[in-house]
């Protein structure tokens, strides 16, 4: 089971910001530096780390970090 903590580490790395704090409810609007460009890097980093692949549709449906964690777990199940 991948956790919020693991995902937070990826965000810290990709956003080059160690102060990133995420909750399941966090969205791009709440997190400094999370935008179109960094989003592609975050998705890519997650795909590499867990050897999974997101479809564009799946990325679209992610409304917050909780959705992201759940989608990763579903793919790994």
């Amino acid at each position: 089971m991948k956790t919020l903590e693991e995902i937070t580490e990826i965000f810290k790395e990709e956003l080059k910001d160690n102060s990133v704090e995420l909750t399941r409810e966090s969205t791009a609007a709440d997190v400094d530096g999370w935008d179109s460009i960094t989003n592609t890097n975050i998705v890519y980093a997650i795909e590499q780390k867990y050897s999974i692949r997101f479809k564009l549709r799946e990325i679209l449906k992610l409304k917050n970090v909780g959705d992201l964690v759940d989608t990763i777990n579903k793919k790994l199940a």
Binding site: A28, W34, S36, I37, T38, T40, K55, L56, L60
Partner: protein
């Protein structure tokens, strides 16, 4: 005559299509009647005309109605982006003597920003009552909007566009002959402080079509894709960088309803356009070029169904709009021959009169030639044998290394042959000895510096090969969504 005035056309749409959707914002739709009500209500609090009115950008109907209200009352709108530094917004407010700011978000956040400037801000969400849109028509030399761009001295540089400029643009744009009408669904994804937003908003309204907007904070590429596919948009103007981001997903994208894909705001690359073709089987790809100083766009290149003309991979910018006169001027300001490169200079009624309160800068960018006033775009172009304008890069991206003239776009072109998963940018910077050194920045590049270095050595003269290679996960972008070369340059130690 009515056909030559964009605001009159919009007014007609409001009457003719009152039940039809004008805007779809965040999933909520607003009819032309809803829009017209909002515009009328805001118009009546704008006393007088010829004044600069600030609008704090927000993705809602009030903000778009405010733009129309300012225009319908013959005032000048100036967009204040809440994400820009406060100091910059303050400079803009001071320089334009703004007394009224229209906002649908809490102004209290801004009281500190604008200091002791007395501003009457108008809360847009007041209850509605019966108002009518005033029947005022602006003088053609009055300013419709002022776009502020970054100036070389750090002071925001204001580009004032008059009602005359705007209507000249409208006439020329219509002549491109887009097959669009009130049934079309059109994208508006640009920051309102960037001028492509003007045409992306006003043109659909002028033909009674529907405008689909993208939220300010959204992860834009997903929001754009979602609208294009789910709402079956028929017309979209986007910067090519959106295509670069979507590239890994092209095989999932299917947009059979799209009639026109406009590429604008930065140079478009032929490879990525061709790769995107299968996703847009019924769309015509059009490259539209223009500096803000000449009102949004002033040249067009229809790319579909032909062998795409390009220079170093960058799409041709095609033919000038009707009403635009242009020259290619060489370094000594003499007129270049066919196929000879020089600075692209334009004249005509779309071109601004001059920068806002900046005579010095205005004098720098205009040149008199054959009794006409030409604006120097700073873009290097040449005309090919068929009269198409070929874009070759920025004049200020052209540098001299050891006395040789180097065009940075040429180096970038070769870098792109090896590095296809992200952007490549060459930045010249003086080293401590005062010599200009070329730095190659690669976005999301994983193949090793040696490989690209060897390839460049194979294809470029030694003095053109970048001495330093920097690899970044992603490139910084400026307000217009273009790669911010200044930040890249500042990052070089």
């Amino acid at each position: 005559m009515d056909k030559d005035n964009i605001l009159r056309s919009i007014r007609e749409s409001m009457c003719k299509y009152s039940d039809k959707e004008s805007f779809i914002i965040g999933g909520d739709s607003y009819s032309y009647q809803d829009l017209s009500n909002q515009v009328a209500r805001i118009s009546c609090v704008l006393n007088g005309n010829k004044q600069c009115v600030g609008i704090i950008e927000n993705d809602d109907i009030y903000t778009y109605a405010s733009i129309l209200a300012v225009l319908f009352t013959g005032n000048t709108y100036v967009i204040l982006n809440p994400h820009n530094p406060n100091s910059r917004n303050k400079k803009i407010v001071e320089s334009t003597s703004i007394k009224t700011i229209l906002t649908s978000i809490n102004i209290d956040e801004y009281t500190g920003v604008f200091g002791d400037i007395c501003i009457s801000s108008i809360n847009l969400k007041e209850p509605e009552s019966d108002y009518e849109i005033p029947l005022f028509e602006a003088d053609k030399d009055d300013n419709a909007y002022i776009i502020f761009t970054s100036g070389s001295t750090g002071e925001p540089k204001g580009v004032p566009i008059t009602y005359g400029n705007l209507n000249s643009f409208y006439c020329a744009y219509k002549e491109l002959g887009f097959n669009l009408d009130s049934t079309d669904r059109m994208l508006q994804m640009f920051d309102l402080a960037f001028d492509v937003s003007v045409v992306s908003t006003l043109y659909p309204l002028a033909i009674g079509a529907s405008v689909y907007t993208v939220p300010l904070d959204a992860v834009k590429y997903t929001a754009v894709y979602e609208l294009l596919e789910d709402e079956e948009l028929t017309f979209a103007a986007i910067p090519p960088s959106i295509l670069s981001i979507l590239k890994p997903y092209f095989s999932e994208i299917d947009l059979p309803k799209l009639k026109y894909l406009i590429l604008t705001a930065e140079a478009s690359h032929v490879d990525i356009v061709k790769e995107f073709y299968p996703s847009i089987p019924n769309a015509e790809v059009v490259n539209l070029y223009g500096p803000s100083e000449a009102t949004i766009y002033c040249t067009s290149y229809f790319a579909t169904g032909r062998d795409i003309k390009n220079y170093n991979g960058m799409l041709s910018i095609g033919k000038a709009f009707s009403g635009i006169d242009f020259l290619i001027l060489k370094e000594d300001d003499s007129v270049a021959d066919v196929s000879e490169k020089g600075e692209f200079c334009i004249s005509g009624s779309q071109v601004m009169h001059g920068y806002w309160k900046n005579i010095e800068k205005t004098q720098e960018v205009f040149i008199q030639k054959d009794g006409k006033k030409y604006y120097r775009t700073g873009d290097v172009c040449y005309i090919d044998s068929e009269g198409d304008i070929m874009y070759c890069g920025r004049k200020d991206h052209q540098v001299q290394i050891n006395g040789f003239r180097v065009e940075l776009s040429e180096i970038e072109h070769y870098a792109k042959q090896i590095h296809k998963n992200g952007a490549s940018v060459v930045i010249p910077k003086e080293n401590s000895l005062g010599n200009l050194v070329l730095h190659l920045f690669l976005e999301n590049y994983s193949e090793g510096k040696e490989k690209i270095h060897e390839y460049l050595k194979e294809h470029l003269n030694p003095y053109m090969c970048p001495k330093e290679i920097h690899i970044l996960d992603s490139f910084p972008l400026n307000n217009s969504g273009k790669i911010d070369r200044k930040i890249l340059k500042a990052s070089i130690k």
